[in-house]
């Protein structure tokens, strides 16, 4: 009995098996690399969860709680609450404060935004703070000591032993932070980190009424105690007090959310590679079975039934796909080990790499099953192949051509597989909306590519160049059959993805960074107190540009959304899953509709004494809120509620001060609040403004917009590195498909060339015809790539930044030239050997039949 293990009686040509193997290797490597990276990030988060929290349990609050009698200052109220509710044998508490502030050297007026963490002597309760020299944290923070990140020293031109001023207090830099257990990632960081002793916060005078500060109490539980059960025992009371409880599983929610979306983005982007790779595998296998149709007919004539034939074909497929699937799964597994060196912002060195054998096995199975799914259609076709073909071949007639719908069927089948994979990813990540957006974008791009490819081929068909190389090339191209449209679609969409990334970067650079001074505020100022408004306005008059909108001031409080029954509307089991409900909102009140906002529905309040609210339109849509609905927030431990009287459209991309929710003055005016300001500074005077601000109002934190944008830009760059890698992988998959198509048309092409040579064409003339054919493919694919790239850029820039994409002719030309050249070079390389064959060699090789 012939089995998969027996010698395969089907011809395995080198090109077929090489392309199948290379494509499976690429697809499996990409998929496993993405999943292994995801696992490394999430596994790292899970394994170090306690360390990431710096404790077993973390209580945090953003407004003061009633303090124990005699207790003074922050976070004594929260510490009192923790001790009262959670005190038990062998439990330890560590209070700390986290806030932003301006830091400056003693002898300089140049200041820098820093992220301060003021900690107690027993910090951290889990994990260890590591300093660059041999000092312990306790030694470094003794006396007037302070510990800073290396980037602070660099940016303020300071060194260890020198003084640093925070607010009204002066410190000596004693150590440089090498590792903080609860601040391992530099994602979303606006400034370098500073560690200072908690008991010295009061001396800085930075924290005043309404200051933006997070109070934290870490709890170390006794051995054997479960953090979640301890948290559950006090959760209800904590919610009433506005205290948030975080267990190790919930540490760093914003980082977790970013990671989940980042992984989803990478995974879905890699689907394009899988789709194109699948198409390449399908084409290679279809071509392989087409070449073997005579052998299959012989086997059928000798009595092989379809099940035996299926076993034979799958056996051959196993030989082609087994080892690349295995190698790909191992290579993909090794990729995360390199990431801390390539994208350190996202994968810090502390995220330890452990190869996952489960994932390797999964990747291997995926590779084999993926190639199996790609052979189903050609297999079905081989089942319908009749042995009568043998008589037809004997009679010299040509075997029936591949049905034209075959390629379309394959694309549909693969697209369905991709959608299935995307849905799985969406369910896994909990980001179904984002997944849907990505997948819809991918499918629309493919559909557009398909239609445009058909249209361009139609144009080639209509084009009648004068007799010569170009005419022969056009005719040859059209003789290649229905696979051309699929090939152009694949190449065009792969190039389109790379182009879109390139154009998007261009847009980001030009729209955000280069236009900064004219369009957006230079600074945001946080924690302005009521009595500081007058000196601040005076400063603004001196440094702001002459424009009514140059200075904008809003009273602000912070609050969390409450449900109907007064509970925080948060899934405490995983708050990062429902960002809208979980986040803390900066709320404001205003008598007039702020400039830059436009009413979408309803009307602005005319009577400031009524309890009304204005909500940003997109947020209202996501929350399911409508005009007339009552919304409730917990603000500083007080519940406030108001009726939604209007919905607004906000232009977020201008970086001015904007709010999701604005209340009428009656709702918030009575609560203590600080002020938030934005200011467009006179160009070149930013440094002196900061120095003056630091001198007059040292507690006010200034965030430079350029700094925010640079942080975003840095993050985008890191994400772009990963996305670009996947874009290149998609182009590689497209080129493999090109190689398969060239290889499949090998017999036809060699026959044509032999004929040209027999009819008197020189080798150079034949080469020109071949070059013209490849040039048409490259030109059409490059045009398609530009079109898709530009289209995706327009949609993304319009959809995300609410702005018009910049049209950059030079970039378009560059992208088109690069894409076209790569495709031309690959196509020429794939078919170069055909040129070398003489007509007699073609006869001898049996290719001229």
């Amino acid at each position: 009995m012939i089995t998969a293990g027996a010698r395969v009686p089907l011809t395995l040509t080198q090109s077929n098996s090489r392309y199948v193997a290379a494509t499976i290797l690429l697809c499996v490597t990409i998929l496993v690399a993405v999943l292994a990276s995801a696992q490394m990030l999430q596994g790292g988060m899970a394994a170090n969860a306690r360390n990431l929290l710096g404790a077993d349990l973390r209580l945090q609050a953003t407004w003061p709680l009633p303090a124990e009698e005699g207790g003074a200052g922050l976070p004594s109220g929260l510490l009192h609450f923790a001790q009262q509710q959670l005190s038990a044998a062998n439990r330890h508490f560590s209070p700390s404060l986290e806030f932003n502030a301006m830091a400056r050297p003693l002898a300089s007026e140049h200041s820098l935004l820093v992220e301060v963490k003021a900690v107690a002597a027993n910090y951290p309760l889990r994990g260890q703070v590591q300093l660059q020299d041999d000092l312990s944290l306790a030694q470094a923070l003794a006396g007037d000591g302070i510990v800073v990140e290396a980037s602070l020293l660099h940016r303020l031109n300071l060194s260890i032993g020198q003084s640093l001023v925070l607010g009204e207090a002066q410190f000596t830099i004693r150590g440089v932070l090498a590792f903080e257990p609860d601040r391992i990632t530099r994602l979303f960081r606006l400034g370098p980190g500073v560690l200072m002793p908690l008991h010295r916060v009061a001396e800085t005078a930075l924290l005043q009424m309404g200051s933006r500060v997070t109070q934290v109490v870490g709890v170390r539980l006794a051995a054997g105690e479960e953090a979640s059960s301890v948290a559950n025992s006090v959760r209800a009371l904590a919610q009433q007090q506005g205290v948030r409880l975080l267990t190790p599983e919930q540490s760093q929610p914003s980082v977790r959310r970013f990671i989940r979306r980042f992984i989803l983005f990478l995974a879905i982007t890699s689907l394009l590679t899988l789709l194109l790779g699948g198409l390449a595998i399908h084409s290679a296998l279809a071509s392989w079975l087409q070449e073997n149709r005579q052998n299959i007919a012989i086997l059928k004539l000798l009595g092989a039934d379809n099940s035996q034939l299926t076993r034979l074909i799958l056996g051959a497929l196993w030989r082609m796909s087994g080892w690349p699937a295995l190698l790909g799964s191992l290579l993909g597994n090794a990729v995360p080990a390199l990431l801390p060196y390539v994208v350190p912002e996202i994968f810090p060195a502390e995220t330890l790499y452990h190869p996952s054998w489960g994932l390797a096995l999964g990747g291997f199975c995926f590779g084999v099953l993926f190639s199996l799914s790609c052979v189903l259609l050609p297999l079905r076709q081989s089942h319908h192949l009749s042995p009568v073909l043998l008589w037809r071949l004997s009679a010299g007639s040509v075997a029936p051509a591949k049905p034209p719908r075959q390629t379309l069927l394959a694309v549909t089948w693969l697209a369905l597989l991709m959608v299935l994979l995307a849905v799985t990813l969406a369910v896994w990540s909990g980001e179904s909306r984002a997944a849907l957006f990505f997948v819809a974008g991918l499918l629309v791009a493919l559909a557009v590519a398909w239609v445009v490819a058909q249209a361009l081929l139609w144009l080639v068909r209509r084009w009648q160049p004068p007799p010569g190389a170009w005419r022969l090339a056009c005719q040859a191209l059209l003789r290649r059959g229905g696979g051309q449209a699929a090939l152009l679609m694949a190449l065009g969409s792969a190039l389109g993805m790379v182009n879109a990334l390139f154009f998007l970067e261009e847009n980001l650079n030009q729209q955000l960074l280069s236009r900064l001074p004219q369009r957006i505020p230079s600074f945001f100022f946080i924690d302005l107190q009521r009595d500081q408004l007058q000196p601040f306005r005076a400063l603004a008059k001196q440094y702001a540009v002459a424009d009514e909108e140059a200075l904008r001031l809003f009273p602000t409080v912070r609050g969390r959304l409450l449900q109907e029954h007064g509970q925080p509307s948060v899934d405490e089991a995983d708050p990062s899953r429902n960002w809208r409900q979980a986040r803390e909102y900066v709320l404001t009140f205003a008598e007039q509709l702020p400039s830059g906002n436009r009413l979408l529905q309803g009307s602005w309040w005319s009577d400031p004494t009524v309890l009304e609210a204005s909500v940003e339109g997109e947020m209202a849509k996501e929350m399911g809120w409508q005009l007339g609905d009552q919304i409730r927030f917990m603000v500083h431990g007080v519940e406030v509620s108001a009726r939604i009287s209007n919905l607004r459209v906000v232009r977020w991309s201008d970086f001015s001060l904007n709010f999701f929710v604005i209340f009428s003055p009656a709702v918030l005016q009575q609560l203590s609040h600080s002020w938030l300001a934005s200011l467009v500074s006179i160009e070149g005077r930013e440094e002196s403004l900061l120095a003056e601000l630091n001198r007059q109002l040292p507690n006010v934190t200034a965030v430079a917009t350029r700094q925010v944008l640079e942080t975003i830009h840095g993050l985008v760059q890191q994400v772009a590195v990963a996305a670009r890698t996947l874009g290149v992988a998609a182009v590689l998959a497209g080129l493999l498909l090109l190689g398969v198509q060239v290889s499949a048309a090998r017999r036809q092409r060699v026959r044509e060339m032999a004929l040209y040579r027999l009819l008197g064409a020189t080798r150079g003339e034949v080469a020109r015809i071949l070059a013209a054919e490849m040039a048409i493919v490259a030109l059409v694919a490059a045009l398609l790539g530009l079109l898709i790239g530009q289209l995706l850029t327009l949609l993304i820039v319009r959809g995300i930044f609410n702005d018009l994409a910049i049209f950059a002719p030079f970039s378009l030309l560059l992208a088109g030239l690069c894409g076209g050249s790569v495709i031309f070079a690959a196509a020429w390389w794939s078919s170069r050997r055909h040129l070398a064959l003489s007509p007699m060699q073609a006869f001898a090789a049996g290719l001229y039949q």
Binding site: M1, A297, L302, W391, S394
Partner: protein, 222 residues
């Protein structure tokens, strides 16, 4: 052995039916050698394909060894072929990736009768190719390839051998060797032989000759 009763076969050509065989009826008893003659395009190969069960007639009945082929499905026809039919082609149709002995043993392997090495080597010895058993088809001459193809057709001792111009690509001397081989093995094992040929020398070796003309059975001679 073979019963054909009013067999007709047509194909669609430019939307119109083109009749290739019309009302063909004949009977061949077991062990008889019959040749089929006719000009190109007369329907000889089509008739052979019908007898091999790889084409189905539009009308009529084909019974071989008591089995009505028109009633069988594709897989049953495949099993029928691997048990009872052997086919020899003008173009040999050997599998290029397999050695000579592997090509010969293939029907036994397909029928689940083991590797078939010994049986294949016995037949290769009888056709004088034992020393070439490890060679692939591309390394064999036309006559050697045809001897391998004949050994493959006979290895599972079928009841019927269908040969489609088996000497069409061979020189005269080699053709005689091949004809001798076909007839001697068919006689030795009592196998019915149905030959399509243009070669009068080959046709004369058959007990009976049938002639096709424009898809109709024109004459029968003994």
């Amino acid at each position: 052995m073979i019963h054909l009763d009013k067999v007709s076969y047509s194909v669609a050509h430019l939307g119109q039916p083109l009749t290739l065989l019309q009302e063909i009826s004949f009977h061949i008893p077991p062990g008889e050698a019959v040749s089929l003659l006719g000009p190109s395009g007369s329907g000889k190969s089509t008739l052979l394909a019908l007898l091999a069960g790889v084409e189905r007639p539009d009308r009529g009945s084909i019974r071989i060894d008591g089995v009505e082929l028109t009633a069988l499905g594709d897989d049953d026809l495949a099993r029928f072929r691997r048990q009872r039919v052997g086919v020899v082609f003008q173009d040999f149709h050997l599998l290029p990736t397999l050695s000579a002995w592997e090509n010969v043993a293939l029907p036994l392997q397909l029928a689940g009768k083991g590797e078939g090495y010994n049986e294949a080597m016995q037949l290769l010895e009888q056709v004088g190719l034992r020393q070439r058993s490890q060679h692939r088809p591309a390394e064999l001459s036309g006559g050697e390839q045809q001897r391998v193809a004949i050994a493959r057709a006979f290895i599972h001792r079928p009841q019927l051998i269908l040969a489609d111009e088996p000497t069409g690509n061979l020189d005269q001397h080699t053709s005689k060797q091949i004809i001798d081989l076909l007839f001697s093995w068919a006689a030795e094992w009592g196998i019915t032989l149905f030959l399509v040929t243009h070669d009068p020398q080959l046709a004369s070796r058959a007990v009976r000759s049938l002639a096709l003309m424009d898809g109709r059975l024109a004459s029968t001679s003994v």
